[in-house]
């Protein structure tokens, strides 16, 4: 059993409970122990992209520093949290003055310099467990299921900071689909925008975007769409006219591993 620090983030405790509970029940079968740090807080939300404002980094660094103190790599699963935490880690490892400001704000004994290794849950499957090992543990393969992997924007970009996969030609989710026995659909809108936060301002625009995405998945023969992002899931389900089901990738993982029923809400 390998132990990792696990950061669920706020949405996984409210709107996206499925993403969280299936992640945890699957990890247990894969020999991965996920331990949440005490008193974790918001990842920092969408504000961290303000490059010069230390206040926007504090939340993320609090989590990163907690993981550093626990001495274990950090695992995230929500695309948005992952993006915020990983980008902050990237920025702070390259910006000494920001590092010192954050240290003073948080009253850290030692400045946080980006020491924590961060894995998105998918990266954990690929790099720690290995997709071949995962395939061996599958008991209910999703045989013949044509599944469209939807990356959205947050998992892959900015590509230098995220360093997960090729931003224009990723393969990690397709490899995941193959590992659980499904057939990945090749479609080009997989890394385009779902509409994001515009859904709060302008439903017409949001619907336009999510319809382009869903129409392309449908057109290329997908039977379902999977995502790692709660906001993508919301937009694709609520704002598009498509009847195509959208799931969190963890739900399919739990199903393939035969632990879907074991999953409980935290």
């Amino acid at each position: 059993m390998e132990t990792f620090t696990y950061y669920p983030g706020c949405t996984l405790r409210t709107k996206a409970k499925d993403l969280d509970k299936y992640a945890r029940s699957s990890a247990a079968v894969l020999g991965i122990s996920l331990e949440e740090p005490d008193e974790w807080q918001c990842c920092g939300g969408a504000y961290t992209t303000a490059a010069n404002e230390p206040a926007t980094k504090l939340s993320a660094v609090r989590t990163l520093n907690a993981a550093r103190e626990l001495g274990r790599p950090l695992i995230t699963v929500c695309s948005a949290c992952h993006n915020v935490i990983k980008q902050t880690n990237y920025d702070i490892s390259r910006n000494e003055s920001m590092r010192n400001k954050v240290k003073n704000y948080l009253g850290l004994e030692e400045a946080y310099t980006g020491e924590t290794q961060i894995y998105h849950y998918l990266e954990m499957l690929r790099d720690v467990v290995g997709f071949d090992k995962l395939a061996e543990k599958v008991v209910n393969p999703l045989k013949g299921k044509k599944i469209a992997a939807y990356y959205g924007c947050l998992l892959l970009r900015p590509s230098k900071a995220m360093a997960m996969d090729d931003p224009e030609n990723p393969s990690i989710m397709e490899d995941f689909i193959r590992a659980i026995g499904g057939t990945p659909v090749i479609w080009s809108q997989r890394n385009e925008c779902c509409g994001g936060y515009i859904t709060m301002e302008d439903k017409v625009q949001a619907a336009k975007r999510s319809n382009i995405v869903m129409k392309n998945a449908e057109d290329m023969g997908a039977e379902m769409v999977i995502t790692a992002c709660p906001l993508c899931l919301y937009n694709l389900k609520k704002n598009s006219d498509s009847k195509l089901p959208v799931f969190y990738f963890t739900e399919l993982l739990a199903e393939a591993l035969g632990v879907k029923e074991d999953a409980v809400n935290e």
């Binding site: 090729d166 224009e168 479609w187 080009s188 385009e192 057109d219 290329m220 023969g221």
Partner: protein
């Protein structure tokens, strides 16, 4: 007692604007041994040189220091002037107070102080200069051309025409290069094969040209006039001297599913193959990655059908050593791999192609016999979108920072040819800028727009979405109209950036020539010596030096040939006398110098020495071949006992300079 003359050049305002030249001349006149110190507006001019010559005679100078530009510019000029006045040319030293002083400083006081210090160092050095005599070495009257594309072909033809033997080393089974794959050429739209293949045939028929096809360079030794090159003739499993190119083996070969690289993988060839009908040499080659006989030992069909018994499954790579006086590099280019540009869906749809693939799709010898059909369903495309600058003029490491230069013109050509042949097809070209300088080039592009009605749109394509109905949904911005465009296309053509061939970098290391950060070979001078490399005897031809179209490539190929011919015409060349030599009494034979010598100029000899006790002893000592030594000085630094020294740059001279600077 030394009698040294100092001459400070103004170089117009190049030096004089930032350096107080009169003060420099005054300061240096007090240096030990200096008997005359003068300044002049242009020291390199006829009257400037006369000033030096007269001073040498009048003051019986034993050494000259010229404070001027880089020695790369005028060292030779001043050495010649000194020689004309009867002074050994190696008693002239240059203090570079232009490139290394006036050009890089703004403050007159600092620059003047530095110029004085540089002058003082040169005076200190010239005190220790010894007269040197340059030797001569013979020139091997044979040239090597590396690469058999249009650049290499033209260079070889010109050199052979001048009466010298020339070898072409080509890594593919045939010469012809990229031009052989091109359908039509801009701006005249004549067929590429029709103008290229006569030249290929000429190469094979010319008695002075020897083609090493399917061969690579593995080692280069020696120096200008006297290179020794090892050529690896890769096993093609066919005896070149017997094969008649009848092609029967290629018809009978059962392994028919090998991607055909000549047609950019758009169709298949057999495991034993002749790349194309006009290949030179017209000799079959067996691809060991696919040949059943070579892989499994079971087949042998080609050997059975070959009437001349040319098939030889046991053939191995062969190394050949040849001597050359001059080497011309013509390694050419390749389009970049575009896997980083998947927003254009290249790997998702066979109907998204690169421009070179389109050349094959439109070529009569291509996979569709010259009819433009979509690769996916072999239907006629009615809407085609061209995307320019895919990977060119790119501001991150994904692509190339430079303009690939040829894409604007070939895209205009493609667009025009398609509109001419298929008037019912709509053609869109998305561009950042249209760059068409060149004779009849802009007229050509305008014809595409005005006469052929090609839709040129300033803006970039953001996304190509392949649909299940076979259409490619193109999303793009029209920057002039400030609107988003959605085009349902049947084909998308990507103008991929071009980059130097991958073989260029290891070759540059072997040739000790320089490359830029993009792996293009660097010319000796960007304006005045565009076809020579900085390494003597190595010349540059074609796109290995920078992106070029065919007319420019041919012009440069002929220029490189002219330079090579100029060298081959000489019976001997003057050697650099500034070479290393070993003090045998100090040398302990440790081999440190031999290990660092990049030219293989150092060998060891056993020599008899008389010892202080009147006995004799055989000792192993280093010996430098002055004809091979290039005077780089690596051995003088590596020698632990200080036995190695370099003529003209001795340890004592260098230390004297350092002392003068630090004084």
């Amino acid at each position: 007692m030394q009698r040294i003359g100092v001459f400070v050049c103004h170089c117009g305002t190049n030096i004089a604007a930032t350096v107080d030249v009169k003060a420099v001349a005054e300061a240096l006149s007090h240096e030990p041994g200096v008997v005359i110190s003068q300044d002049y507006q242009y020291m390199c001019s006829e009257s400037g040189q006369n000033l030096i010559k007269d001073a040498i005679k009048e003051h019986s100078l034993t050494g000259v220091v010229v404070c001027s530009c880089s020695p790369r510019m005028h060292e030779n000029t001043f050495r010649k002037a000194a020689a004309a006045a009867g002074l050994n040319p190696y008693l002239v030293e240059i203090a570079n107070i232009r490139e290394q002083c006036s050009w890089i400083h703004k403050d007159i006081a600092t620059a003047t102080e530095k110029a004085v210090i540089l002058g003082r160092a040169a005076v200190a050095k010239v005190h220790l200069n010894a007269p040197l005599t340059a030797g001569e070495s013979p020139v091997v009257k044979r040239a090597l051309v590396i690469g058999g594309g249009i650049a290499g072909i033209q260079t070889a033809l010109d050199i052979a025409e001048a009466g010298f033997d020339v070898d072409i080393v080509e890594k593919e089974p045939t010469i012809g290069g990229k031009m052989a794959q091109i359908d039509k050429t801009f701006p005249t739209l004549d067929c590429a094969a029709c103008i290229l293949t006569p030249k290929m045939v000429e190469c094979s028929q010319n008695e002075r040209i020897h083609i090493h096809s399917f061969s690579e360079i593995t080692d280069v030794k020696g120096f200008v006039g006297n290179f020794t090159v090892t050529i690896k003739k890769k096993a093609r499993f066919v005896d070149e001297t017997k094969c008649t190119g009848c092609g029967l083996c290629t018809e009978k070969c059962p392994m028919k599913k090998v991607p055909n690289e000549f047609n950019m993988g758009l169709d298949n060839r057999t495991a034993v193959y002749i790349p194309f009908a006009q290949a030179v040499p017209k000799v079959a080659t067996i691809d060991p990655n696919y040949c059943l006989m070579l892989k499994t030992g079971k087949c042998g069909v080609c050997s059975k059908v070959c009437s001349v018994g040319a098939i030889d499954y046991k053939q191995t790579d062969k190394l050949v050593e040849e001597k050359y006086g001059a080497i011309v590099v013509a390694t050419g280019f390749n389009p970049i791999k575009i896997d980083k540009y998947e927003e254009f869906a290249y790997s998702q749809s066979p109907d998204v192609v690169t421009s070179l693939e389109l050349e094959r799709l439109m070529n009569a010898a291509g996979p569709n016999g010259g009819t433009l059909l979509r690769p996916s369903d072999k239907t006629h495309p009615h809407t085609i979108v061209f995307v320019q600058c895919v990977g060119s003029r790119c501001d991150d490491e994904k692509g190339k920072p430079y303009c690939s230069k040829i894409c604007c013109m070939y895209t205009a050509k493609h667009a025009m040819l398609i509109r001419e042949k298929y008037p019912d097809t709509d053609v869109y070209v998305f561009y950042i800028d249209v760059r068409t300088p060149g004779k009849n080039f802009d007229e050509f592009y305008r014809r595409a727009v005005e006469q052929y009605g090609v839709h040129y749109i300033k803006g970039m394509v953001g996304k190509v979405t392949p649909r299940s109905d076979g259409k490619l949904e193109v999303q793009a911005s029209d920057l002039l109209a400030n609107e988003q465009l959605h085009i349902d296309a049947d084909m998308v053509v990507l103008a991929a950036a071009i980059e130097p061939d991958k073989s260029a970098r290891p070759l540059a290391t072997m040739l000790t020539t320089q490359m830029d950060t993009n792996d293009f070979f660097t010319e000796a001078h960007p304006k005045l010596r565009p076809v020579e490399s900085a390494t003597a005897g190595i010349f540059l031809s074609g796109a290995c030096q920078g992106p070029k179209d065919i007319p420019e490539t041919v012009a440069q190929a002929s220029a490189a040939a002219a330079k090579a011919i100029g060298l081959l015409c000489k019976n001997s060349i003057t050697c650099n006398p500034c070479v290393a030599h070993s003090d045998e009494l100090m040398c302990n034979g440790c081999s440190s110098c031999e290990k660092v010598c990049p030219y293989g100029a150092i060998t060891y000899i056993d020599k008899e020495f008389r010892m202080p006790d009147r006995t004799t002893r055989i000792r192993r000592v280093a010996s430098v071949n002055p004809a091979v030594c290039q005077g780089c000085g690596a051995c003088t630094v590596a020698c632990p006992s200080g036995a190695m020294d370099l003529n003209g740059f001795s340890n004592s001279q260098i230390m004297a300079e350092v002392d003068a600077i630090c004084k």
